[in-house]
Symmetry: C2
Subunit: 412 residues, 2 copies
């Protein structure tokens, strides 16, 4: 697979089996999974496995034939969104969903200029990678960035939260104007609804809603990247509900098929039909009966097991317990996030200076204690807690115990 | 799914079940499938179904953990290619494979200019779609096209095959020079090894091998698009073997997982490692245990059932029988292709003028007789015969009977 293929841990884990929130390595060691957001209804979820196996044994073809399961799935999927989002395009990866969303926004507006944050990641294709690691003020064809809206490391010190919000909104307006001044007319803004890759910073209250208004007033479309935020992760069905805005276009991926490659975009019937006519988009493996079966089983699991409520409850209690630990651990600079997606901004005590090595020590220390977590954020110093959604109180206790030990150990 | 989502047939087929080379619609009607190249080892192939179901029930995670099945699959896959192709990058769709291949070629050469044919299609992302429908001489950033090499409608009349080959090779050299003159330094050429979307034209003998030499002499890399050509379709494992050239980079997709979204790129260890270091490419759903299980089952089926030899034999006999029919049907202008991928260039009798309506009538007429085929080519007049690889002599007889009736009917 070539030298330099990305791997976790200095001594990578060789996995052989998974079940619920548990992963097992080749030596029979068990790990509590607080990292993986793709198998969100649990590793090897029996309902999803049965759906995939049953459909694969029956029929799996492309979408230029009709299939009832595909249509039913699309109807169910759009029904989970607000009324303005009526139609869907299915694809195979989050990257492909963002490709489609950009085509929809650019095609509908006739413009090319897209705004993103300066610390985002939306995918790995040439077009989508243009949105990666784009410092504010940098000219890159068709894209410009804004500072990630955040309270913990404010772009200007000494402001109230309301003033900070205004400051970020003014920057958005200026960036739209700058795009237009450069001859790149404004098509819209793409943003992760919970700022996941940015490190889950808490945006100033009202920022998302008012930013969406500004985008609309300038004739642009709002694209919510729900690849990480969606499907109950945030304690709502969608991250945009948690963050309080109404997108025009929504990209979905990761947990959508619990591991079956499946992604999609929802938007208005008008936007999707316009896209269909302009692009004649066809995706060989997408909108297949097997994708639909997996996707439907995931929605059924989230609904029947009431995972939205579950996630909100377990997530809140986990966060409270972490905040209790924070009192004795000033290196836990900021605890934030939504539902079962919690970030801890690891800092040098008494400062907001990112402690990348400290965060890495926590990740490695937890691995030694049989717990898998990750790191995220602009500075790679945010300890990322993001278990499968079926993570419950008992698992939270196991994690908190290992975490407390790790943090204590990291100090001695 | 929006108005304008692509569908086959004026009255589309609603499918409910598939088995081997057979598809069944909601009214219980059975169709002989001579269209689908994704379920190449047969619809609902039991070995592939069992592999997918078994792996989904055991473990399916991303590739930043180690997994023996993934490594075994990659080793098996590269072992099917020539010695210079040692390493692989897995992805989810053909488009994603071509994205990776372009990144490898451009990164390794440090140049951007890529040459393709003027009648190709390599995928649906913004970057890859730049290769679609590009007339010769058109300047499009980073890409230029050459005329599709072909004997049936030669770019210049009255030449011998050898002269025609020289004419196409000279055009390739001129196009490389024109790219450089425009300040777009040459990175390489991407070409479908059997010119599938071009309508399977027969290239002048020796063109592929000598074109690859010209690309190499100019410092470029040769990318073979085997998304349609690969995995025994052409009667060899790879289309590049059938066409007689050695690519530096190979893109694979469609039949690779028999319907499981799975694609990949193979190249030298050096090229892949360089790509890994430059791009830190990560693809959430790719190189997963479930992809590997499906992919391995496909290779096992092709190997154990000796489908390479089977395809070459059945394909050759089918082609001979079609050539016999051609004697009485001058609208069958040119019969060509490789293995179980046969194209019939439908023309106005006595001319080489494309008969698009005639080809469409054949497709619809065969549907009424319970047979599914398609159309392809630059002029959309090439009747495309491309059944699952498990298509055998008995199926060929059924098809030939329906085809003869349809062609006779189309004349009255």
């Amino acid at each position: 697979m070539g030298l330099g293929a990305p791997l976790f841990y200095d001594d990578p884990i060789q996995l052989v089996r998974g079940e619920g929130v548990w992963l097992y390595d080749a030596d029979g060691r068990r790990y509590l999974d607080l990292y993986n957001n793709v198998p969100s209804v649990g590793h090897a979820n029996p309902r999803v496995v049965e759906a995939i196996a049953g459909q694969a044994a029956t029929l799996n073809v492309h979408s230029r034939y009709l299939h009832e399961g595909v249509v039913s799935y699309v109807e169910r999927l759009v029904g989970l969104h607000h009324d303005g989002l009526e139609s869907a395009v299915l694809a195979c990866s989050g990257t492909e969903a963002v490709e489609v969303a950009l085509m929809i926004a650019r095609g509908a507006t006739g413009n090319r200029g897209v705004i993103c944050t300066d610390a985002t990641y939306h995918g790995n294709s040439a077009q989508v990678a243009r949105l990666t690691a784009l410092p504010v003020g940098t000219r890159r064809t068709g894209v410009r960035s804004i500072s990630t809206p955040q309270r913990y490391r404010p772009i200007e010190p000494g402001l109230t939260e309301a003033e900070l919000c205004e400051r970020h909104l003014a920057q958005l307006e200026q960036t739209i104007a700058a795009l237009e001044a450069d001859g790149e007319r404004f098509a819209g803004m793409i943003i992760c609804s919970i700022l996941a890759n940015e490190g889950l910073p808490t945006a100033p209250a009202g920022w998302f809603e008012r930013a969406a208004e500004i985008v609309h007033d300038a004739g642009g479309l709002v694209i919510a990247d729900e690849v990480q935020a969606g499907f109950a992760r945030s304690g709502s069905w969608w991250g945009y509900e948690t963050s309080g805005f109404r997108p025009d276009i929504v990209c979905m991926g990761k947990p959508m098929g619990n591991g079956m490659p499946l992604s999609g975009v929802v938007a208005s019937h008008e936007l999707v039909s316009g896209f269909r006519h302009r692009h004649r988009y066809f995706n060989t493996f997408a909108a297949s009966p097997m994708q639909a079966a997996a996707g439907m089983a995931v929605i059924d699991e989230i609904s029947d097991r009431e995972l939205v409520v579950h996630v909100a409850g377990v997530g809140q209690r986990l966060r409270t317990r972490l905040e209790e630990l924070q009192a004795d651990h000033p290196e836990m600079g900021d605890i934030r996030g939504h539902g079962l997606f919690i970030g801890i901004d690891w800092v040098r005590p008494g400062t907001t200076e990112p402690d990348v090595a400290g965060a890495a020590d926590v990740v490695e220390g937890l691995k030694r204690r049989g717990v898998l977590i990750g790191k995220a954020g602009q500075h790679r110093n945010v300890v990322k807690i993001r278990p499968p959604l079926v993570f419950d109180e008992e698992h939270a206790e196991l994690f908190l115990s290992a975490f407390a030990e790790t943090v204590a150990g990291a100090r001695i």
